[in-house]
């Protein structure tokens, strides 16, 4: 039996080629697979969401301050916008940002701030023995439920803490 010295080299070359192809296919599969699971968590593209009307910064701060006081006069339509991440991102994109803080980070911080204020409103209401859900608040609950499913752990964690204070 004659030993061909190149036979092993060719064989190893083919094995290596196969491994490379497999690796490439795996990478491509991961890239083009898209989000795992059924429905995407945040299906709305930020580009498709129009920003709020001018003065939203004032309305947001005022509504949050009223919520922290446990006021009965909180505007829940303003709050629904406040916990809407794509809307807040669109709003923040219109503002000036430096290199250290992006619109996305600002928007997330605003939503977390709003969620905390909402939790405080529920706690203050409970302290005064109230547990009614005013009209408009149910829509805020639904919006917070969506935030709780967010892939962002900071957002989902705060949303779950806020959900725990809800009247339901």
């Amino acid at each position: 039996m004659v030993n061909d010295p190149d036979a092993g080299l060719v064989k190893r070359g083919f094995v290596l080629l196969g491994v490379m192809v497999l690796l490439g296919a795996t990478v491509l599969f991961i890239i083009y697979q898209g989000p795992r699971g059924g429905t995407p968590i945040e299906p709305t593209r930020v580009e498709d969401v129009p920003p709020s009307s001018p003065g939203w910064e004032i309305r947001v701060n005022a509504a949050a301050a009223l919520a922290r006081r446990g006021s009965d006069q909180v505007s829940w339509s303003v709050f629904r916008e406040m916990v809407d991440l794509p809307r807040m991102t669109a709003n923040c994109r219109e503002q000036y940002h430096d290199a250290q803080e992006t619109a996305e980070v600002s928007a997330r911080d605003l939503v977390v701030y709003s969620l905390k204020a909402l939790a405080q409103w529920h706690e203050k209401q409970r302290e005064t023995g109230k547990s009614d859900v005013p009209s408009g608040l149910s829509a805020v609950y639904a919006a917070v439920d969506r935030v709780a499913e967010s892939a962002d752990p900071i957002l989902s964690e705060q949303a779950k803490k806020t959900q725990a204070t809800f009247f339901r």
Binding site: S53, P54, G55, W56, E57, I58, R59, N61, A62, A63, A65, L66, R68, R69, S71, Q73, V74, S75, V78, Y96
Partner: protein, 318 residues
Amino acid sequence: MSSGEPAASNRSAPAPGLPPVQPPSGRFIVQLFVVPGLIVLAVVLVLMAIAYSTSQNTPDYYLNRLDSENADIRWRAASDLAQILKRPDSGSLRWKADAHFALELAERLRKSLDELAQAEKEVDAKLTAHLAEMKNKGIAVPPADIDVHWRKIAALRNHVSFLASALGDLHVPAGVPLLAEICLADKSPDIKGNTLQRRKALWSLANLGANTRGFAKLPSDKQAEALEALKAEASGATLRAGWARTALYYLGSPPDSSDGVVHVDAVLARCAEAEDRFLREQVAQACNFWDGPLIEPTLVKLQQDDGHGTLIHVTEQD
């Protein structure tokens, strides 16, 4: 072996003309190192004791330096004091809970505000004359040239901003009336400078609200000391007495007379009507730290804000 013996005897025997070599004794080591060490330690301790006993880190020391004729000394004092006031309470309570210091700072802010108003008038008169002259010559004056005129009073404006900010860092709200005055001052020929000053003052007012709430957490002896000092100053018809009465009102010890007491909720309600959008946003934030019958109606109004008015962008260069 015999060849090693002469070498050993060479090591122990002194060379001709030299004294015999002996190992140092314990006493010699002590004389050489420990005694000088103790002398140096004693000198350092004495110097530290002198420095501590004659320490210049007192409120009065900074107030005197803020009054200096030398601008460099004033600025150094302002810079040092700003750093002290930003420390946690453990390192700055001596200043933050001192009612006399708060009233003295307010006196200096009053004086600086008057000087600034006078300087504004003078610059405005010169600028108006300059613009009229240029108009007669048919030369358009670029905005940058106008800014150069206002930059002449920038140092004075910065001093006002420092004093306003310092008053906001204290636990004694003696600065409320003056901060309110700055927040409400919407008429000024220097639009950019005044806009920035109002925003800074409103920020300080919000900060002061948070610090006033912190007064209740101070040691009881510090609280009693501050209230006693304010009560001693609260009688009379002077501005200073009004500042003291305002501070007493917000520290939960209402004065006998309410003359000169400035109510922050009324100030914030008026600021909520400002044309400056950023100022209205700040009002909404400041309402978190102050209470009063007008706070909730102001917030209800602001949560329906339609973004009217102007949004002047003021940069650090301005």
